[in-house]
Amino acid sequence: MSEAAAVAMPAEARATWWQRVGPLLGLALLCVVLAIASPHFLTLDNLLNVLRQSAINAVMALGQLVVIITAGIDLSIGSIMGLTIVLLALMMRGGTPSFLACVLAVLAGVAIGLLNGLLLTRLKLPHPFISTLGTMNIARGAALLLASGVPISGLPAGFREVVAGSAFGIPSPVIVAGALYVVGHLFLTRTVWGRDLYAIGGNREAARLCGIPVDRRLNLAYALSGGAAGLAAVVMAARMNSGFPLAGSGAELDAIAAVIVGGASFFGGVGTAGGTLIGALIIGFLRNGLNLLDVSAYWQMIVIGAVIVAAVCIDVLRQRVGREA
């Protein structure tokens, strides 16, 4: 793609170029504005703080991206986080070694995600909106039941220090998210599975007629999304030092926002890990900046909503440019 962009920039390359660079420009612009508006913005502490706060959403968004690339959606990730965080806390309180409990929590997320996939591919529910809306409620209900509606506190100190701490001055959540994005990027761009997900989102029937096992790949996508939510739950548990059954309420919407602001197409087949990371950062910096500027939480919601709409408008315009080419 870079060669095509470098030469003459025909309309089609311009569209791809925008898609890749647009979110990055948006992020840069945002940072410049915030740096000018608030003297506290450009401090190392603040920047690390934003990264730490954005890490959980970024992890969730990466899973959501994988699903959105297939032209699907996963509404259940917030609830999966709620359920896995409760499971994690219960396991730890019951004496399960921390590391094992973390692995099992992620696997629980994978299992619920796989259930989402199977509902779609085996029971042939008409749209993932419906199947994941179902599991969203089921998982949240299960979380509340298991926790009797109250947070489970008293997690091992060692777990907290490692997962919520920092290494070489970098907060652990940021390291986790960063590592996951490297893996996610390689998965999407270098593996057969990743490529197949793009093809399925771009044209499911064409993908099938090329011999791609569409159902298996969709199951994988939802399982990965659930696993990402489980991993996010681990980070969240360490940060909150408890297993709160309502953790992650509404998190699916922030994740979807990050994916869309990051240039992925809701119609499927388009989107990158890098873009989604930038999308998550844009939302994180926006929240942080508005806080620094003492903008009320109500206004923050309005601004973030406007950014989402603007990002989708850009997506639509980009497609129009592409079509005219």
Partner: protein, 506 residues
């Protein structure tokens, strides 16, 4: 209702319609009188559907005029045509399955009670629906939900709906294609009864016996032009077939060369799929191009998809000979791809391409052998594979990374073809490979197919364009109603003969 009689009900004068460079209709003139059943016949792509779409307000002509009872009219949309008294009943009637028969009959002009709420007057709706259903001799409970009805009953509901809207001209598009004999007979009784009432009918069909049983006159279209309009009593089936095909003799393509046919690569034995395909057996040899001819709905696409494993067969077996001479059974799509079978599907936009993906990714979508190592894509090899396809098929694209949707139709189609012509290809299945591509690209695709056959591939190609099959194929297999009715060697394959077999006339 105006008095029937005197002049023609509808005059179509010099209607033309172009789609891009393709002239779908050229200077078409037809007249229709009240109470006439007027058949419209022609090969696939002759322009019948375009003409009927214009008459029912679905398309606007580029030139020419329409006279309704002697007055020039412009049919802006389907509603204005209906208001005038022209209604179309599609092959698959367009009804709302979840609503009742009565609601479907009245939809769009439901009777309402007086008063500000404009509540639907259910009693009156039922009565009106009953009256309309009686006209089409359909004894259906008005409250029955339409999705519980069969196709024949749905058609009657659609016709009743048209009559309820005051239709004086009803256009029927191949209404019998999915009806049984008894249902067909019953429909004809209804249509004759309507004729007695003075309702005029345009009746599109390929089936010559049906036209004879029903129609007063027939207009034959070919390549968008009217070949003839004659009373059916004054013409023979042979004359009609000749008029439809326009060729008494097969046109022999000079470029067609002799290819030595090798061993059998594809063997289809007794393949069936309930209600769609019946006991189809076929062999294709290396180096051979076999054509599948037949009318729309004859089962050509279904057969190709079933051979490819994209649709499951209920009966029979498909086998492909591997490079080492052993036979491999093909049951699923994955088997087929692994055995070196490729399908170029009917609708490249809907089924063939991932429009947002690049040329390279579209060609490489099949992950050809040697391009993956443990789940990892070997991007370099994938690009080499795509580059080779681009070169051999002369695909014109700015680069391998250009999104495939920016290519022309012919080049898009070559991308779909390019997936399946790698070194391990054995059998190529093509469904309407040149539909919607321009003449130049078409000739080029034909040349590539011959070249691939010479390379030793077994090629099975379905096309609605007889001349294409006649020019390209060594043998032509003719399908009718899900059966393979005959196989003609090149020497005996002529357009009239193929059409005769496809329509089942003698």
């Amino acid at each position: 209702m105006a008095t029937p009689g005197a002049g023609p009900l509808l005059e179509v004068r010099g209607i033309s319609k172009r789609f891009g460079a393709h002239a779908a209709l050229a200077d078409v003139t037809v007249t229709l009188v009240a109470g006439e059943v007027h058949a419209v016949a022609g090969e696939n792509g002759a322009g019948k559907s375009t003409l009927m779409a214009i008459l029912s307000g679905g398309l606007r002509p580029d030139a020419g005029e329409l006279l309704w009872e002697g007055r020039a009219v412009v049919l802006g949309d389907v509603r204005s045509a209906q208001a005038l008294g022209i209604s179309m009943v599609h092959q698959e009637p367009q009804l709302v399955g979840s609503l009742s028969v009565a609601e479907n009959v009245g939809l769009g002009r439901l009777p309402v009670h007086g008063g500000p709420l404009r509540l639907v007057d259910r009693g009156r709706l039922r009565d009106e629906a009953r009256r309309a259903l009686a006209l089409v001799r359909a004894d259906l409970p008005p409250e029955r939900r339409v999705e519980t009805l069969g196709v024949a009953e749905r058609q009657l509901v659609a016709i009743a709906r048209a009559l309820h809207f005051g239709a004086r001209l009803i256009i029927l598009d191949e209404p019998t294609s999915s009806l049984s004999m008894a249902e067909t007979e019953s429909l004809f009784l209804t249509l004759r009864a309507l004729r007695e009432r003075g309702t005029a009918t345009f009746y599109i069909s390929h089936r010559l016996e049906e036209l004879r049983a029903l129609a007063d006159r027939v207009t034959v279209l070919r390549d968008g032009r009217v070949v003839t309009t004659v009373p059916l009593a004054q013409t023979s089936n042979d004359a009609l077939i000749l008029a439809m095909s326009g060729r008494e003799l097969a046109t022999v393509d000079a470029a067609r060369d002799e290819r030595p046919a090798g061993e059998v690569l594809l063997e289809v034995r007794g393949v069936g799929r309930r209600g769609r395909l019946h006991d189809v057996s076929l062999e294709v040899r290396a180096g051979e191009i076999v054509g599948l001819a037949g009318l729309v709905g004859a089962g050509r696409s279904r057969l190709l998809r079933t051979v490819f494993g994209a649709d499951r067969a209920d009966a029979g077996e498909v086998r492909v000979r591997a490079a080492d001479g052993s036979w491999r059974r093909v049951g699923t799509l994955r088997d087929a791809v692994a055995a070196g079978v490729g399908l170029v599907p009917e609708d490249r936009r809907a089924l063939g391409l991932v429009p947002v993906a690049s040329v390279a990714d579209n060609i490489g979508l099949v992950t050809p052998p040697g391009t993956r190592r443990f789940g990892l894509l070997r991007r370099g090899r994938l690009r080499e594979f795509a580059a080779r396809a681009v070169e051999t098929l002369r695909i014109k694209a700015r680069s391998l990374d250009a999104p495939v949707r920016t290519l022309s139709g012919g080049n898009q189609q070559k991308c779909v073809l390019g997936r399946w012509v790698g070194p391990d290809a054995r059998v190529l299945l093509l469904d309407e490979p040149t539909r919607g591509v321009d003449v130049g690209a078409k000739a080029e695709i034909h040349r590539h197919l011959r070249e691939l056959a010479r390379r030793g591939l077994a090629i099975l190609i379905a096309s609605s364009e007889l001349p294409e099959l006649l020019a390209l194929c060594d043998r032509i297999a003719v399908m009718r109603q899900g059966r393979l009715v005959s196989e003609l060697p090149r020497a005996q394959a002529t357009a009239p003969e193929v059409l005769r077999l496809a329509t089942g006339t003698r």
